[in-house]
Amino acid sequence: MSTATISAPSAAAPRADYLFLAISILATAVLVALVLLDGQRASAALIIGGFGLGVAFLKAEFSYTASWRRFLTRGEAGGLIGGLIVIAIAAVAVVPVAALWQGYGGAIAPLGPSLIIGALVFGVGMQLGNGCGSGTLYTVGGGSGRMLITLAFFVIGSVFGSLSLPAFLAMGGLDPILASDYLGPWGGLIATLASLAVAAAIMITVARKRGANYKPSRNYIIGGIVIGLLCVFVFFAGGHPWSVTFGYTVWGAKIFQALGYDFSQAAFWQWAGPKHALAESVLSDTSSLTDFGIIFGAMAAAAATKRYANAPWPPLGSLLAAAVGGLLMGWGARLGFGCNIGAFVGGVASGSLHGWVWFAMALVGSLIGIRLRPLFGLSRE
C-alpha cells in the first residue's frame, strides 16, 4: 500500500474549526450563566433548547423554504411531510397541555386581512431570502454571509411591520378559532392530527399526480422527530410554542431606539407585551433566548466539521434578493403573526385555524416568490 493511499483518508477527514467552535460554546455558556445568575432556570433551558434546535436543523439540513420550492416546482412532497412530522409531535403536547394546565398557552392569532396579507408577503420573501424564520437563523449560525444580509433586513422589516400592524388590524377580523375551545383538549388534539393527515394526503396526491417523490428522506424523518421533540421541550420551558420572529422585532426596535427613534407614539409598542419586551433585557424575551441558542448551536455544529464561513460572497443580485426577501419576511411576519415556526408550526400544533390559513397564503406567496427569483439571478429550483 502506498503512502498516498494511506494519507488520502486523513487529508479528506473533516477538521474542526476550533476558533468558531470555542466562540459558539463560550458565548452560549456566558448567556446561560447570565440568566442563571438571575435565577432563571427556564431561560437557561430555552437557550439550551435553541442550541439543540440549531444543531438539529443544520445537521438534518431541514429547510422549509427549499421543501416548499421543491413541492411547487417539481411536486416533491417529502420535505413538506417532514415538516408535518414536527407539527404532529408538538401537537401531542401543546393541544392538551395548553387547554388543561394553567401557565401554558397555545399560539393563537386572529383571522383577517392582516394574517392573509402578512402570510402572502412572507411567502414571497422566504423564496427571495432563501430561508424562513428558523432557516435564516440556522444558516446565519452555519456561516452563510448571504443570510447575514437576509437577517439584517428581516430585523429592519419586522420593525416596519410592527408600525403597520395596528392599521391592518383595524380593518377587522375574527377572534382566534381554537379546536380545543369547541371539542375539548382531546377532541381538539384528534381534530388537529386529522387535519395534518388530510394535509399529508393532499400533498401525496399532488406528488403522485406529478410523478414525483412523496417520501421524506431519512434526514427529514430523523430531523423532523428530533425537532418535534425539541419543540415540546421549548414549549414546556417557555409556556408557549416556540416562536422566532418577535425576537427580531425586539432587537430591531432596541437598535432603532438606541439610534434615537421614539416608539412612545407607536400603538404596537404600547401593547403590554411589546412594551415590556422593549423596556426589559433582551434575555427576558423567550423568542430571543431560543434565537440566540439556535445561532450558536448551528455555529458549533458547522465549526465542528469544517472550516467555518469559508465560502466566498455570492453575486450582487443574490445579495439584493437577500435584502428584499429579508424586508418582506420581516414585514410579513409581523402582519401574519409569525413565520413558518410561530404561525404555521406553532399555530397548527396548537389547533388554531390561523396556522392553516397562514400556510395556504404563504404557499401562494412562495409561488410568486419563485417566479421572481430569476430577476435576481437565482434559479427557480
Partner: protein, 51 residues
C-alpha cells in the same frame, strides 16, 4: 467572510450582554402572549376588543 463573522459575532455578543446588564430584568422570561388581552404571539389585541 471569516473576518466579517468574527466582527459581527463579537459586536452582537457585546450588544446582548450590554443590553442585559443595563436593562431591568424583572423575573422569568416572558412572551407577549403572557399579558392580559393578548390575542397573538406578538401581543396584539383580539378584533372583538377593537370594536
Amino acid at each position: 467572510m471569516r473576518k466579517v463573522y468574527i466582527v459581527v459575532t463579537l459586536v452582537a455578543f457585546v450588544a446582548i450582554v450590554g443590553n442585559h446588564l443595563t436593562s431591568p430584568s424583572s423575573g422569568r422570561a416572558v412572551s407577549p402572549e403572557d399579558f392580559a388581552g393578548a390575542c397573538a404571539p406578538c401581543g396584539a389585541p383580539c378584533p372583538s376588543k377593537n370594536n
